[in-house]
């Protein structure tokens, strides 16, 4: 079984992480920022799984990735509830327009 070197996974994960970072910086929509954060979490999981391949007895990397998925699910539910609450109050989903504290 030919295996792919771990560096290939790391490069793909780094590219995905940077795309997610650019998305969450540039989008002017709360949910667009959440999409970027989800991409970043997935990129980190790719790293964990790629390194966990060399630990077949204990699988620490895959277990950690599993907990990251759980935390991501909890995070996105709470974030969506907060976004709905902010939308009910400010009638906008643009993070640049929710600037009441700055004025």
């Amino acid at each position: 079984m030919t295996t792919i070197p771990v560096q290939y996974y790391l490069v793909v994960a780094a590219a995905l992480f940077c795309i997610g970072l650019a998305i969450s910086i540039t989008k002017r929509h709360f949910i667009g920022m959440l999409l970027g954060i989800e991409l970043m979490l997935n990129a980190v999981n790719i790293n964990l799984v790629a390194f966990g391949r060399h630990d077949p007895e204990r699988l620490s990397g895959q277990l950690f990735a599993l907990f990251v998925i759980v935390v991501a699910a909890a995070e996105v539910t709470v974030a969506l509830a907060i976004i709905l609450r902010v939308y009910g109050r400010f009638k906008t989903v643009d993070p640049d327009q929710v600037n009441e504290l700055k004025q």
Partner: protein, 173 residues
């Protein structure tokens, strides 16, 4: 053969990510995120994490993506055009383009330099082709029991908190 599949799914994932980055319509972005999650699940399979790939598809595609699309649809402006032949686009303006691209490309360059100059010496032997489900189950119930229970409590707390926050989201109405 394995390398070709790896390249195909990496390209799929990165293309979906770039599509989200450059598309103006957020609904299309959410559907592209589906492709990205699918590509990541395929990369998990290629790295020997079969259980994690199935969990990825079930949790992300079945749960998180549906939640995100609900969120997009619940935060729409009230007035839409009555013309039913027109698309109701979810246009998203972008801002801070220069800083976003500079940060992304700069960080990618830095990470690429670090990764290419690294020389990992792997000590353990490679993953064999057997299934990982038994190992994950035994590990979760023995050495990782405390994080497992804490994750359960975290999910319960997040569920109650999200339901409470979203319950009365229009106090004025």
């Amino acid at each position: 053969m394995e390398a070709i599949i790896f390249y195909i799914f990496s390209a799929l994932t990165l293309a979906a990510g770039l599509f989200i980055l450059f598309s103006k319509n957020l609904i299309y972005g959410a559907f592209a995120l589906f492709l990205a999650f699918l590509g990541v699940a395929a990369l998990y399979v290629l790295a020997g994490a079969d259980f994690l790939a199935v969990s990825q598809i079930m949790i992300y595609v079945g749960g998180i993506l549906v939640l995100l699309i609900f969120g997009i649809m619940l935060t729409q402006k009230k007035k839409k055009s009555d013309d039913s032949t027109r698309h109701n686009r979810v246009e998203v303006p972008t801002t801070r383009k220069i800083w976003g691209f500079l940060t992304g490309i700069g960080l990618f360059g830095l990470l690429l330099k670090v990764i290419l100059s690294s020389d990992f010496r792997m000590s353990g032997e490679e993953m064999s082709t057997k299934s990982t489900i038994k190992t994950i189950g035994v590990e979760l119930m023995t050495s990782h029991l405390l994080p497992f229970e804490i994750a359960a409590i975290l999910l319960l707390v997040a569920l109650i908190g999200a339901a409470y926050l979203a319950l009365n989201r229009n106090p004025s109405a």
